[in-house]
Amino acid sequence: MYNIMGEGIIPKRIKVANQARCIGCYSCMLACARTYYDTVSLKNSAIDIQTKGGIEEGFVSIVCHACIDPPCSRACPTGALTVRKGGGVVLHKDLCEGCSYCVDACLIGAIHMDAYGKAVVCKHCGVCASYCPRDVLELRKVGENGEEIMDIN
């Protein structure tokens, strides 16, 4: 169901497609954290829903932009973040030493550290999108260089 990367498979990336539709339900965050951690939390989610200036002003979804030349990867001194096909990075948890240089390197704030000193970064798997009730988030097919591939059926 989700985007498991392998040979010959078209890479995908998560995209905040319709920000203004967000109702602030956190279903995406709960889903991401639930999928990759053994606990229930909001903080272990790679996507973060924030209010800009309070709940009256609507929401912003902060999630990895799938950079083609990711500064977070370049900032990582241990090689824990390798460049991912289609944009973004792959985290090798065993190599992550918790220095949080990547956190500083990502301008949009898409990385944070978990309680165990490991980076939390998006895998572009699309679980969050499958739990978004308003189609704010979409999992899109991209080429190796991150260009979007249109589905022509």
Binding site: C25, Y26, S27, R34, Y37, V40, S41, K43, Q50, P133
Partner: protein, 585 residues
């Protein structure tokens, strides 16, 4: 494991405002016995009960509780508040959504018990395990509840997933039906929690948490979550709340003669269409929001645009609306324009009052004034009449300020006001609580009279009436349904789910969803706990002085046609006897 993992789901924190101290106690046995939420809160309120101490005594506790499902499963977004109500002197119970349940969950607090009285205005900041008492003198006296949230949002660290609950001018001044605003658009609305906050010099509570919770069987949990989630979003069980929201009821209830109009003199409002959910949804709705952890998005926000000069200067405000508000400040006051209803909602929101109570109080005062039972001496020049927005706006303001005896009486609720000034026959209260917007028949009257907090959410009498209307139920069958609902809801409110999701959380679904949390309870056991909680609440009500035999039934109920025709008083009295027999009272 790291210390950021919550290691208990029975954490009760006791906060003493007088001495600025707090103490965390784990009470697993109590949570096992009463599940959580309202069951646990009832027990905690009972433990804090002191003979001869009234609702606004410093020692009177405020209890806030979540339950095992809070923040864990979809639509389990509410916290319950329990307290002694300053409005009717007995059991105070109220629910609010927004971000409060998630904030309590991830801060690791299952219940919060607040007693005492601060020396000067304070607000409480609860972040993860830390509790701080902070000076609130500079925000005491602010004219709008909404602004309090804006200021605290900037003043407090830990941005993001916080819940900010606060009172407005009405709570500070002790209006007996002052509410507590939760995250701007939700409220602990009914029965006057705001006045209890005010009496403790407690202006606000900022709650936030970023901990994580261990689940006994994570794999099964993920499965249960998924099933419940898709039941919520892919079936039509909750569609009505998502689409037009609760205001869909304006037209629905109007068509079946259930829509209280001009203080229940009619149950049909000729201008209903104009302030209906359809019109609001088509022409005023600008946004929907959700409580944290609910994919429905039932919070409907309208935009009110007001010109304030002849040169296109506009004032824009975002105003939440719901069925009960449109009834209380719209149909029941004879307001016909959506703009007028929205503006009156906005003014009540700023003051921080329960809008149902305010609407009923204004409706009674308007009828009194039109019948010339009160004069403009009492109203200080305000001429109350149906459909007249400006005078209602003045009255709302004056009720909070209470500059004379009349407005002070209005600030005590419609029961007290009508005892002083007359018009009890049309002072629309039951159990000394202003009633919600249904005149469906016997089930509603009996349900509100007998319900633990005299609310339509106790046992949904209006829904039994609608069934009776469609397919014919005997009075006894209606009573059976009320009793069953009252008990079931004791369980739902202990878990704590949002009642809009009650069709998703069927008994078998609840049993299955409890398992991965390490809680084994059969359907029969849950039934038994539901009844036990109900009985415990009634015991507490009696300690507070409630007596079912003394409830006054305003005459108006028996004069105005309902969905099921004119209700006969003797029939209601008879039904109350059946109810008492069945309950063993």
């Amino acid at each position: 494991m790291s210390d950021t993992v919550i290691n208990s789901t029975s954490n009760v924190v006791y906060i003493d405002l007088t001495n600025e101290t707090s103490k965390l106690v784990q009470r697993p046995d109590m949570f096992d016995r009463y599940i959580g939420g309202t069951g646990v809160a009832t027990q905690l309120l009972d433990e804090g009960f002191r003979e001869d101490k009234d609702a606004l005594d410093p020692e009177a506790p405020i209890v806030l509780s979540i339950g095992p499902f809070s923040g864990i499963y979809p639509c389990c977004t509410k916290a319950v508040a329990m307290f002694r109500s300053p409005l009717n002197g007995e059991l105070g119970e109220s629910y609010a959504g927004g971000r409060i349940a998630t904030a309590m969950r991830f801060a690791g607090y299952d219940s919060i018990v607040i007693t005492g009285k601060a020396k000067r205005p304070v607000y409480l900041s609860l972040h993860d395990g830390n509790i701080t008492f902070k000076d609130a003198t500079s925000i005491w006296g602010l004219s709008s509840t909404v602004d309090v949230g804006k200021i605290l949002r900037d003043a407090e660290p830990h941005p993001g997933r916080r819940s900010i609950i606060r009172i407005g001018p009405a709570g500070e001044k002790g209006v007996k039906y002052a509410n507590v605003n939760v995250d701007t658009y939700r409220h602990f609305g009914r029965l006057g929690l705001g006045a209890v906050f005010g009496s403790k010099n407690l202006k606000a509570i900022v709650l936030s948490g970023d901990e994580e919770l261990q689940i006994a069987d994570k794999k099964d949990y993920n499965k249960q979550y998924k099933q419940l989630y898709y039941k919520v979003v892919n079936t039509d069980l909750m569609e009505k709340y998502h689409d037009l929201g609760t205001t869909v009821n304006v037209n629905v209830l109007n068509e079946i003669n259930a829509l209280p109009t001009r203080n229940f003199q009619q149950t049909y409002f000729e201008c209903a269409e104009n302030i209906s959910g359809e019109n609001l949804g088509d022409n005023y709705l600008i946004r929907k929001l959700s409580c944290a952890g609910c994919p429905i998005g039932c919070i409907h926000i309208a935009m009110l645009k007001k010109l304030f000069s002849n040169s296109h200067d506009v004032e824009v405000s975002d105003i939440p609306y719901d069925y009960e508000l449109v009834y209380a400040l719209g149909t029941n006051l004879g307001l016909t324009e959506p703009e007028d209803v929205l503006e009156l909602i906005d003014s009540c929101e700023r003051q921080g009052v329960d809008i149902i109570s305010m609407g009923v109080v204004l409706a009674w005062a308007t009828e009194m004034s039109m019948k010339e039972k009160i004069s403009t001496d009492e109203t200080m020049g305000v001429t109350l009449k149906w459909g007249d927005l400006n005078n209602f706006l003045h009255a709302v303001d004056l009720i909070t300020k209470s500059p004379n005896e009349f407005y002070s009486a209005l600030a005590e609720g419609v029961a007290v006001a009508s005892e002083k000034y007359g018009g009890q026959d049309f002072a629309m209260q039951l159990g000394r609580l202003e009633i919600p917007g249904y005149h469906t028949g016997l089930g509603n009257v009996v349900g509100l009279t007998t319900g633990v907090r005299h609310s339509h959410h106790d046992n949904a009498g209006y829904s039994a009436d609608q069934k009776a209307f469609k397919s014919g139920l005997s009075d006894e069958e209606i009573i059976d349904q009320l009793i069953a609902e009252d008990d079931v809801r004791g369980v739902l409110n202990s878990l704590v789910i949002c009642l809009f999701a009650r069709k998703v959380y069927t008994p078998d679904a609840i049993v299955d969803a409890l398992k991965p949390l390490g809680i084994e309870k059969s359907e029969e056991e849950l039934d038994r706990i539901g009844t036990e909680i109900f009985m415990k609440k009634y015991e507490l009500k009696q300690k507070f002085g409630f007596d079912l035999d003394n409830v006054k039934l305003p005459k108006r109920f028996f004069e105005t046609v309902s969905t099921n025709g004119i209700i006969d008083k003797e029939r209601v009295e008879n039904a109350l006897e059946i109810y008492k027999n069945k309950r063993g009272f």
